[in-house]
Symmetry: C3
Subunit: 259 residues, 3 copies
């Protein structure tokens, strides 16, 4: 049984390793896969996007644990959500929600008073004391219901909406990857609706004409736009780092319209 | 059988992957878990603290390999220490010692002349040539004695002592995590001895009154103090990075006293 | 069956985790080991060196996947190369070639039109859509031929040559590790040919006399030279970071000659 881990713990500390020790102590056969531990500290939207675009590449029934948890130890609930696709474990702050938009929700469990916590429960590391034990027990038994109390809802965050704008769309940068590529919330469906084989894309002063097929479509240093591996409109610079060259940030507006 | 790895190798180079290749070549069934490879270069105390606070979350009998080894290739001995808790492999420079303070030491092995080295032995990478092979063979056979010569002692480093001070304690910052939280050497036992439900904590000009239950106890930007997941007094800033805001460093003094 | 992964994806994004999900979906028993994901973006030579110096530490028949792929989605071919040592999967841009110099090449497969791609194939992430599926299917079946069309050649990059110079050699810095150690292309064979137990090594203004046995050979801050774990002449600084102190970069010339 696969358990994925997504956190904002970074790579300096042993916190992820400790979670893996807790899991291996309960289920030595659990197959743990790191999705990312490089989510920016407390960046709930960043963690939610990472999860959203990764879960479909894992087998159905995988257990996805996300610990981006600025409210750890407070009244926010620790959750396990069972869907048609798999299991999602993490704090009730919305970080799980973007991955669940297309799923049928089968069950929502509040892990607060479960019998499977590690004692004593710290105020600062529920990944170790609640989420890892819940994932490990679930991977052993497949029985979500025994891990807590069934409840009726969970917190959701919303993906920023793309807005109609002139003869096209106004979107925004929602994610920037390690290469400095600028991922927008404009999907390939939005682009298709323009019915223009050579739309214009604008980000501040930068204007791009037409969509590229790949990163070699321009000379080194040229701005290009393409549909990326998440099905999103992306602005990139050939052989360079678009974020560094443009200074763009998450939330910056972009425009795409028919010529 | 679990083998954990803790190093100062960082994440840029293939050195950790090479150690895993050596282990898998000897014992394909070994279950290798990374504790951290983000220990600061040559930071023996940092590696020792990471190990100390992680081993109790792994099954008894796990093999813990630590390669923070500025003296690699010199006369410092390569060690395997067997305790009531598990096996500890690394250089004899103290990096293993903080994890062993509560254990019964069963056996100390000098790996210098073992039959299980990878040949030729490099001068710069005993993780590959001595420690990984030793861990892998041990995970196969469970026989520590065959890996070298039994000796009588090993190097220890000492955790900085907390000192009595006025109506409380003087401690210091011993670890700073990825979030910028400042871990001190003051334990929850020290705090309990103050018998004050609202002690005062001071770090330079920063004065904090009382202990918080969790990171949401203040407004964003407020300094708080709490007992963290390692059972240590920690100074943090709500939703922010305390290290960056305070400029504090490892070794900086902190004070806690009854009101 | 071991599958190693080497990429320039970094540690911020879920791209490596996604590849592992794809692999686990096809072959849950594949044993995936990360070599490095810290290759500098688009640094084909860096990726090639990492691979070259790591593969000999893995069991024969291991599958090595490298995704340093600035031409992803363009006409560059996706390759699988079978050698006497193992299997090598990645783009046909030379990144695989340095690891293959001593191997007998058994078969070269163009993966372009394989039946085992993940559909739809993105323009930007062949690691997910072609390379990971090919590696996973190969780990299941051991049958390379079925994965594509046999072709006759592949792109090679060349390791910079060491040149005779005065009474010795002119080489250059080819790799800099996490500790700031400066790896040169001068091998221990070159050094042996000098037949001098105390050669002189020069990098810009820095002059080093003789080879050290290990990193403790000098006082903290002293420049030393030694033969490192890759069998290469390395310039280091005792207890410090030679790259930071010297400002040296990849490509900088170094000289070694008899006294």
């Amino acid at each position: 049984m696969i358990i994925t881990l997504t956190t904002d713990f970074g790579y300096k500390d042993p916190f992820v390793g400790i979670m893996k020790g807790v899991i291996a102590s309960i289920n030595p056969r659990a197959h743990v896969i790191d999705l990312s531990h490089g989510v920016a500290p407390q960046d709930i939207m960043g963690g939610a996007l990472v999860l959203r675009h990764a879960v479909s590449y894992f087998p159905q029934g995988s257990i996805h644990v996300v610990v981006v948890d600025p409210g750890v130890g407070s009244a926010r609930r620790p959750l396990l959500i069972e869907t048609s696709q798999g299991y999602f474990i993490g704090p009730d702050n919305g970080v799980l929600s973007l991955a669940l938009t297309d799923d049928r929700i089968m069950r929502i469990i509040d892990l607060s008073h479960g019998a499977f916590h590690r004692q004593p429960i710290s105020a600062t590391f529920h990944g170790r004391d609640m989420f890892a034990p819940a994932a490990a027990h679930l991977s052993l038994t497949g029985d979500a219901a025994q891990l807590g109390v069934t409840i009726g809802d969970f917190a959701r965050i919303t993906w920023p909406q793309v807005e109609p704008w002139s003869a096209g769309w106004q979107g925004q940068i929602v994610y920037i990857d390690n290469f400095g590529n600028l991922f927008t919330n404009v999907t390939q469906q939005h682009v298709a609706q323009l019915q223009d084989t050579r739309p214009t894309i604008a980000l501040g002063d930068i204007v791009i004409h037409g969509l590229a097929d790949n990163y070699t479509a321009g000379a080194p240093g040229d701005y290009i736009a393409l549909i990326n591996s998440w099905g999103l409109l992306e602005i990139a610079v050939c052989q360079e780092n678009a974020q560094r060259l443009s200074g763009a940030r998450i939330g910056d507006k972009i425009y795409i319209h028919a010529q």
